[in-house]
Amino acid sequence: MAPPAQTNRSPSPSQPSGKSEVTDLKSQLRQLAGSRLPGVDDSKRELFKKVISYMTIGIDVSSVFGEMVMCSATSDIVLKKMCYLYVGNYAKVNPDLALLTINFLQRDCKDEDPMIRGLALRSLGSLNVANLVEYLVGPLNAGLKDNNSYVRIVAVIGVLKLYHISVTTCIDADFPAVLKHLLLNDQDAQVVANCLLALQEIWNGEASTSEEALKEREALLSKPLIYYLLNRIKEFSEWAQCLVLDLAVKYVPADSNEIFDIMNLLEDRLQHANGAVVLATAKVFLHMTLSMTDVHQQVYERIKAPLLTLVSSGSPEQSYAVLSHLHLLVMRAPYVFSSDYKHFYCQYNEPSYVKKLKLEMLTAVANESSTYEIVTELCEYAANVDIPIARESIRAVGKIALQQYDVNAIVDRLLQFLEMEKDYVLVKDLLRKYPQWSHDCIAVVGNISSQNVQEPKAKAALIWMLGEYSQDMSDAPYILESLTENWDEEHSAEVRLHLLTAVMKCFFKRPPETQKALGVALAAGLADFHQDVHDRALFYYRLLQHNVTVAERVVNPPKQAVSVFADTQSSEIKDRIFDEFNSLSVVYQKPSYMFTDKEHRGPFEFSDELGNLAIRTESDVPVHVVEANDKDLLLGTSEKEESRGSGTNGSAYTAPLYDTSLLSTATQVQPELPISNPAAAGLSPQSSLAIDDLLGLGLPAPPAPSPAPSPPSLKLNAGAVLDPGTFQQKWRQLPICLSEAYLTVSPTGLVLIFVMDRSLLQELSVSPQGAAALTTPQALLRHMQGHSIQCIASGGQSPNLKFFFFAQKAEESSIFLIECKINTSSAKTQITIKADDQSMSQAFSTLFQSALSRFGTS
C-alpha cells in the first residue's frame, strides 16, 4: 500500500491534480458571483462543494478566496455555512482578503435569525487574524448579551478565541469579568459550561505572569461556585458534566462531612453510560478520600462494578481506555480485585494491546487461592497462535512464580515450556531467585540448541545461563566458543554484551577450555562498533591485564539470590500517574511531563505540578527569598518559643548531628547541639538557632572563615537560585531513582554502582513532632530555607506531602536536587537526591537529613 502522501498528491482519475481545476473553478465562481438568475444558488452549492472537497483532500484552493467572498452574498444558509468554513480555513493565510469578509460577517451578526447571528459570530472568531481583532470586540459584547442562548454559547467560545489571538484585547475589553458574571447567572447550562472552560483556559494562561489571574483561578475552586455547579450537575450535557467533575477534583473539602455530601451527590453519576463521566466521578471519589484509608478502600469497591461494565459494553477502543484505568487500580490495590480475576481472562478475539494489559493484571491479582487457576489459564494462552502474546503469557507465569506462591508446581510447568523452546528469560530470572533449581533447569538448558533461539532477550538469557552455570554444563565453553566465532552475525548489542560477560565467567571457572573463546570474544568486542560493547570489552581486557583475581571478583562475585525484582517503575512515577487519573498518563503509563510540553499538561492542572508552581520563584527569586527569610526570622523565634514552651523533649537531638560546617560560627554553636536535657535546652539552643538563621540566610554567601574540620565539609549557598524549568530539566537528565536504575543493570552490576553514586534513595523518619507540625507545607519550607535549602515546588494532600527542594554548593555552581515525600501520619519520609557533583551527594544527604530531622523540634 502506498503511503497516503502519495495517494493524495498523485494524479489519479478520481482526484484532481490541482492547478487547472482550481483555475476552472475560479472562473465559474466569478460567472456566478453577480448572477441573480433563478437556480443560481444550486449551481453555487455544487461549486462550493467542489471547493470544500478539494480543501479536504489537501489541495490549496486559497486562490479562489476573492470569488468565494463575492459569491457569499446570499440568503441560502447552506451556502453561507460552506463559505464560512472556507473563510475560516484560509483567512489566516490571506489576512488582506479576510478583511473583505468582515463586512458581511458583521452584518450577519445583527441578523434577526439567532442562528445566523451565532454562525456569523463563530466564523468571525475563527478568522484568527491579529489585525482584525478590533472588529471582533463589538459583536462579542453584543453576543454575550444576546437573549438567545445559542448566540451566547457561541460568544463565550468567541471570547476564548479572541484571547488566543490577542491577550491584551481580550483582557482590556474586560471579557473575563463578563464571563464570570455569566458563569454564575446564566440560565443555560451550556453557556455556564463554556464560561467555565474559557475562564480556566484564560486564567491558566495568565497565572504565570499575573498575581490577579492566580487569585481568579483559585476563585474557581471556591466552595460556593463548586456547590453551585455540583448541585446543577444534571442540567449539564454529559460532556460539560466531565468539565465540572474535573473542577471538583481540585476542590479541597473542609472536612469529612463535606466529602460525604459531595460523594452522595455524585453517586448516581457512576451509573452513567458515558465512560468519561464515570471515570471523572471515580477520580473525584478517589482523590477526595486519599487521606481516609477505610473510605478509600470502599471507593475501590464501589467503582469496580461500573468500570467492569464499561469495559464490556463499549467499542474495543472505549474498553481499552477504561481498562487502562482498571489496570492502574489493580496495580495499586491488587487485593481489592483478588476475587475478580476471571474478568481479566483474555478473549481470543481481543486486540493484543488489551491482552497485554490483562496479562499484567492477572499477574498482579494472583494470590494464594487463585494462583493455580490463573496459571492454568495463562498456560492455555502460551499455546496461542499469537506469538508475542504466548511469550507474554509465559513471562506472566514466571512473574507469578517469582511472587512466591506454590513455586514448585509452576516451575514444573515452566520447564515444559522450556522443552517446547518457548522462553528462557524467566528461567534466568527464576534461577536468580531460586538457585536451588539450577540442576533441574540446566539439564534442560543443555539440550537447547542456541541456533533455534532468535529473540534477543531469550538468547541473552540463554547465554547468561551458560556463563553462570558453566561448571555444570559440560558443553558450555564450546557452545560459547561457537557463538563468539559468529560474532558478526549477532545483531543485538544486548546479546553481544551478555556473550562477553558469559565468556568471562566461563573463563574463571574453566580457564583452559575457554581461553580461546575469550581471546576471540575480547578481540571482537574491542572491534565492535557499538559503544557499550566496545567499552565493556575494553574494561574486561584492562581488568584482566591488571589482575586476574580482581577481575574475577568484579565479573563473577558470589551471587545472592535475588529476593525481590525491582519494579520497572518507581513509586514516585506511579503516584504521579495516579494523581493524573482520567488522563492520557494512565494509558501511556507515564506521568504527563514525560510526553507533553508544559503548556499542554491539561486544562486545569494545579498545584501539584512542578511546572505550574513557577509562580513561587519565577519572578524575583532573590528578593522574595530574603523577604521570606526576614519574616521567618521574626516568626521563627516566636514559634520556636511556643513549641519550646510546650515541653519538647530532648530526644530529637539524638538525630544525626547537624553538619555544623554550615555555620560560619561553627565553633560557638557546636557545643550546644548535643544537649539532651530538656530543661537545660531551654534557652541556648534556641538562641543559637536564631544565630543560625541569621548567619545562614541573612548573608548572600557565607564568608566562611575556614570551618571546623568535620569530615564532609559541605557548605551551601544561602541565596541559591534555580528556575523551575532548569530544575525540571536537570531532574529528568539525572537518573530518576535507584529502583529504576537497578533494572537496567547488567548482571555484572557495573552500571548499578555508577547510578548509586548519583542518586540516593533513602527512607528516614521525621521526628513525630515534626510530622505533627507539618500541618501546612509552608512551615517546612521556611524551616528548610533556614538551612539554605530552597523549595521549588510542593504538593500533595495530607498525609502524603511531596516537596521538591534544591540547594547549591557555596561558591560553586554545583546543584543538588531533592525530592522529599513525607507521610505525616506514619512520620516516614522518603528522599531522592540527585547531584551535579556526585562525590558530594553523600555529604549532602547527611546534611539534608539532619536539617529535616530538626524540623518541628526547634
Partner: protein, 446 residues
C-alpha cells in the same frame, strides 16, 4: 479539548478534515495513517486507540472500516475523546441512515455542518441528534441501502470489532419517507453478546453476557415512554457465583442513558424516558450468572501416523427448534507444519463452506444456518510436513465460534411492555421489540 478531527478511508484518504485550534501541524493525517498502518513490522499487533507521536496525541476508533481520528497536544481524558469519536459516528449515522464510505463522501458537507455544531474551538458543545436538528440544513443524500453489501454481524466481528450493527433500521432521522408522511414507530432491540469458554472436557470455565437495550425512535412530539423489565430482575455483585435455576435474572451491574429516569425502577423495574431522536443505548448490562450456552462444541483429534491426523468437529445447537441461528463460523488454528487439509462434510450438507487458510494455519467452517436441536459434524484430515514435537493439542486450537441468533436471549431479560404516553385515542405507533444474541468470544479448548 481536541485540536483536529478527521475521518480517513481504509486507504488513508481524508473524507472530512476539520482543524479547530491550529495547534497541530497540517500533515497529521498522514503521520497518523502511516503509524497505524505500520505499527509493528511483523503486522502482528494492532495500533492501540491512543498513541503519541512527537508530542501530538492521536485517538482513533474504527467504525465500519473508517478511521475516526482526533488529535490534541493536551493531556486530556482518553475516555472522553474516544466516547466522543464514537458518538460523532453515531450522530452521523442518525443523519445519513447508513454510515459507510460512500454515504460519507456523498454527504460530506452535511458532516461538516454537524461537526461545526458538535465541537467549537476543540470543546464539545452537543452530541444530541435532537438538538442538532435545528442547526443542520443540508438534506442527506440517502445511499441506497439495498445496493449495499449487507454488513452481517459476523462480517463485523471478522474486522475485529465488538460494535453491533445496531438496528436494521437504515433510515435517516431527518429525511422524509417517499410519500411525505413520517411513519410513527419505535424500535427497541435487546442485543446480547455472549462469551463462553469451555474447558477441554466441556466444562464451562467462564461465561458472561454483555447486553444493551438499544432504542431508535421515530415518534413525533417526543412522548414519554415506559419500559418494563422482568419484575424478578435483581442487580447485585456477582463474583461468578452460580445461581442457575433460581429463576430470577441477576445482573452484576448496569448503567443507563442520561434520559432515563429511575424513579420506579427499584419498585417495579420500569424505566421512564423521553427518547431523544436517533439511536442510543437505554441501558447496558453485564451478567456473569450461569446460563445455558446455545451451542456445545466437541472436538476429537486422532493422530494417524507420524505426518497425519484427523480432526472431528461437532457442533450441537441446544436451543428450541423454533429458533434458527445464522452466519455461523467455526474456526480452529492448526499446527504450524500443516500443509494440507481434506474436508469431509456430512452427507447432504447444505449451505456449508470449508476452508484452510494457509497464511495463518487456520481451519474455517461456515454454516449459513443451524436450526435449534440439530447437530453438525465436520471431518478434516490434516497432513504435516514435519513430525510434531509432542502433543498435537498443544499446537492446535482452541476452537472458536461466531454466530447470530435472532429472537433469542440468553439472559432471559425481557421487555415486558413498552408503553407510549397517548396523545389521542387513535395514536397507536408501531412498536418493535426484538431480541438478538451474538457470540463475542465463544471458545472451546481442546
Amino acid at each position: 479539548m481536541i485540536s483536529q478531527f478527521f475521518v480517513l478511508s481504509q486507504r488513508g484518504d481524508n473524507i472530512v478534515f476539520r482543524d479547530y485550534r491550529g495547534e497541530v501541524p497540517k500533515g497529521s493525517a498522514e503521520i497518523f495513517f502511516r503509524k497505524v498502518k505500520f505499527w509493528k513490522e511483523d503486522g502482528e499487533e494492532e495500533a492501540p486507540p491512543v498513541f503519541n507521536v512527537d508530542g501530538v496525541n492521536y485517538f482513533h476508533v474504527k467504525v465500519v472500516g473508517l478511521l475516526f481520528v482526533a488529535t490534541t497536544r493536551v493531556n486530556v481524558s482518553p475516555s472522553l475523546v474516544l466516547e466522543l469519536l464514537q458518538r460523532i459516528a453515531r450522530v452521523i449515522k442518525d443523519y445519513l441512515g447508513v454510515l459507510n464510505e460512500d454515504s460519507l463522501r456523498k454527504n460530506f458537507v452535511l458532516v461538516y455542518e454537524l461537526l461545526d455544531e458538535v465541537i467549537d474551538f476543540g470543546y464539545v458543545q452537543t452530541t444530541s441528534t435532537e438538538l442538532l436538528k435545528s442547526y443542520v440544513f443540508n438534506e442527506p443524500l440517502v445511499v441506497d441501502a439495498a445496493r449495499l453489501q449487507p454488513l452481517s454481524p459476523a462480517a463485523i466481528f471478522m474486522q475485529g470489532t465488538k460494535r453491533m450493527p445496531g438496528t436494521a433500521v437504515t433510515k435517516s432521522v431527518v429525511a422524509n419517507e417517499p410519500g411525505g408522511r413520517k411513519r410513527e414507530e419505535i424500535f427497541v432491540d435487546i442485543i446480547e453478546k455472549i462469551s463462553v469458554t469451555f474447558s477441554s472436557s466441556g466444562y464451562i470455565l467462564t461465561s458472561e453476557i454483555d447486553g444493551t437495550i438499544q432504542m431508535k425512535s421515530y415518534l413525533s412530539g417526543n412522548p414519554e415512554i415506559r419500559l418494563a423489565l422482568n419484575e424478578d430482575l435483581s442487580i447485585g455483585r456477582g463474583d461468578y457465583r452460580s445461581s442457575f435455576g433460581s429463576g430470577s435474572v441477576i445482573l452484576d451491574d448496569c448503567n443507563f442513558h442520561e434520559s432515563v429516569r429511575l424513579d420506579n425502577f427499584d419498585l417495579d423495574r420500569t424505566l421512564t424516558l423521553v427518547p431523544p431522536d436517533g439511536e442510543f443505548p437505554v441501558m447496558n448490562y453485564r451478567m456473569t450468572q450461569e446460563f445455558k450456552p446455545p451451542f456445545r462444541i466437541n472436538t476429537l483429534i486422532e493422530e494417524a501416523g507420524a505426518l497425519k491426523a484427523e480432526v472431528i468437529l461437532k457442533v450441537s445447537a441446544e436451543f428450541p427448534s423454533s429458533i434458527t441461528a445464522n452466519t455461523i463460523i467455526v474456526q480452529m488454528p492448526l499446527p504450524k507444519y500443516t500443509t494440507r487439509v481434506n474436508f469431509e462434510l456430512e452427507p447432504g450438507a447444505l449451505g456449508q463452506t470449508t476452508d484452510f487458510k494457509e497464511a495463518n494455519r487456520r481451519l474455517e467452517w461456515g454454516l449459513k444456518k443451524i436450526v435449534g436441536g440439530s447437530e453438525h459434524t465436520l471431518r478434516a484430515k490434516l497432513t504435516f510436513s514435519q513430525e510434531l514435537h509432542g502433543n498435537i493439542t498443544k499446537e492446535a486450537g482452541p476452537v472458536s465460534m461466531t454466530f447470530t441468533i435472532p429472537m433469542y436471549n440468553a439472559s432471559r431479560l425481557q421487555v415486558k411492555y413498552l408503553q407510549i404516553a397517548k396523545k389521542s385515542s387513535t395514536y397507536n405507533p408501531y412498536r418493535w421489540v426484538r431480541y438478538v444474541t451474538q457470540a463475542n468470544s465463544y471458545v472451546a479448548r481442546i
